[in-house]
């Protein structure tokens, strides 16, 4: 039995400590040890994006990251987006634009779009499609997901300019 290692990181702004085998994947730590079940296990082969979380300012597939790689990291999951009872503009966008049907891909979609809008606050439709291409949805045909991201981009832009 390989010795477990202590790993400390910030999860949605809160310090957490876990004791894990080196082979433990971040998605399992989040879901099974830390009860953050927003990130979903979809394909387990880094194709579908359902397990996407934000790790040190990068969108990553948490099924392909080891928890021991997250020492002192800042991890954000969909649970960390709502603030004081108010939904994030992206969460609002996905409800307003009907950006989901079954909802399985949604936490990954929203977490990915969160980083996309940090990097590019007013993306074109083409840029949204290109930079969201690591997240698969089997229900919507993507049209309303694009609209949801555009809704959030517009809302966040208006909030910035104060108009």
């Amino acid at each position: 039995m390989v010795k477990k290692q202590p790993v400390s990181f910030k999860l949605n702004g809160t310090d957490v400590d876990v004791l894990v085998e080196p082979r433990e994947l971040l998605i399992h730590t989040l879901r099974e040890r830390l009860q953050h079940t927003g990130p979903h296990i979809g394909c387990e082969t880094s194709h579908c994006g359902a397990c996407t979380v934000d790790l040190n300012g990068m969108s990553v597939k948490s099924c392909t990251v080891l928890t021991v790689q997250c020492r002192d990291a800042e991890v954000l999951t969909v649970e960390g987006l709502e603030q004081g009872g108010t939904l994030h503009a992206l969460q609002e966008g996905f409800t307003q634009a009907h950006g989901l049907q079954c909802g399985f891909c949604t936490p990954g979609m929203i977490t990915r779009a969160y980083r996309l809008l940090k990097e590019n606050p007013s993306p074109s439709e083409e840029e949204i499609r290109y930079w969201m291409a690591g997240n698969l949805c089997r229900c919507t045909g993507y049209q309303n997901i694009v609209k949801a991201v555009q809704y959030a981009a517009n809302k966040m832009s208006l909030a910035r300019t104060g108009t």
Binding site: V2, R23, L116
Partner: protein, 288 residues
């Protein structure tokens, strides 16, 4: 899917990583971005006893230019390449190629050094390196050597990298400003490996080809340099007949394995088509 048990090491410097590599020998694997190795470990195709994570070694990252050479740290990620103003300006082929690799999340983690060291014939950087005339810095505890990219790739998952060596840097001579370029990649979907792809760099002198380099992805056990196709174009006017002949010669060296992307005949035909497209695009971008 969970990998078999292993010990994890996170060295903070290249000498520390080399020391661990020497200590654990065959039992150790280097972890770069992890998006080839970790999936292989989850499927139990790879079962290293020790994983040496290069992610904490700052000196393996970064993109700079010195004396007409671009120097890219081996742990530089695909998204860092895509977002590099220096590369967009000096070596847009590398940016074009990186944009066609995997998907956004994978590109945050996947590294150029990992892509090259892995020796997977489906990886895209080898063809880009061959047409750019790149060389690689390989470090070991007994020193370092610089090897040309042409000759580095030996076969499926085999390269010139010796046990105990780490690829630390990629060196690319800055292409002349008028160099035409293209990476044409056919894939079934975002995130897939190429069914076939062709990388081209091209320098024109008036209407004739001064120099050209062509390399093919995923149509053999390793990346292929299409030398006869290159020779057929040098000094010639690049018209439709010359492009078709170059594509025919490129197709003649392909030896792909049939898989769910298609049978061998189809893949060879697509390698020809990608060669034609890449040559045409490179010609349209080349200064006269």
């Amino acid at each position: 899917m969970i990998p078999r048990e292993f010990e994890y090491h996170a060295p903070k410097s290249i000498p520390d990583a080399l020391g661990l590599l020497q200590q654990f020998g065959d039992e150790a694997k280097l972890l770069a971005g992890g998006h080839s190795l970790l999936p292989m470990m989850k499927l139990r195709f790879a079962q290293p006893g020790h994983l040496i994570d290069l992610g904490g070694i700052g000196e393996l990252k970064g993109i700079r230019e010195a004396n007409g050479t671009l120097r890219i740290g081996a742990m530089t990620t695909e998204n860092e390449i895509i977002w590099s103003k220096l590369l967009q300006d000096k070596c847009p082929l590398l940016v074009e190629g990186a944009r066609l690799i995997a998907d956004p999340q994978v590109r945050y983690k996947g590294t150029i050094g990992g892509d090259l060291s892995h020796g997977d014939p489906g990886n895209d950087h080898p063809a880009l390196m061959l047409v750019l005339g790149a060389s690689f810095v390989l470090k070991s505890s007994s020193g370092e050597r610089v090897v040309p990219s042409d000759g580095f790739f030996l076969g499926s998952y085999t390269t010139l990298l010796q046990p105990g060596e780490i690829m630390t840097e990629i060196r690319i001579p800055v292409p002349a400003p008028n160099t035409g370029y293209s990476y044409s990649k056919l894939k079934r979907k975002v995130g897939d490996y190429a069914t076939a792809a062709a990388a081209v760099t091209l320098r024109m002198k008036g209407e004739s080809v001064q120099d050209v380099a062509i390399a093919l992805t995923n149509v053999g056990a390793r990346v292929l340099k299409a030398r006869a196709a290159e020779d057929s174009l040098r000094g010639k006017t690049m018209n439709d007949a010359a492009i078709a002949e170059a594509a025919r010669l490129a197709m003649s060296i392909c030896d792909p394995a049939a898989d769910q992307r298609g049978d061998a005949e189809y893949k060879v035909a697509m390698a020809g088509e990608m060669t034609q497209r890449a040559l045409r695009t490179a010609r349209s971008r080349a200064g006269r």
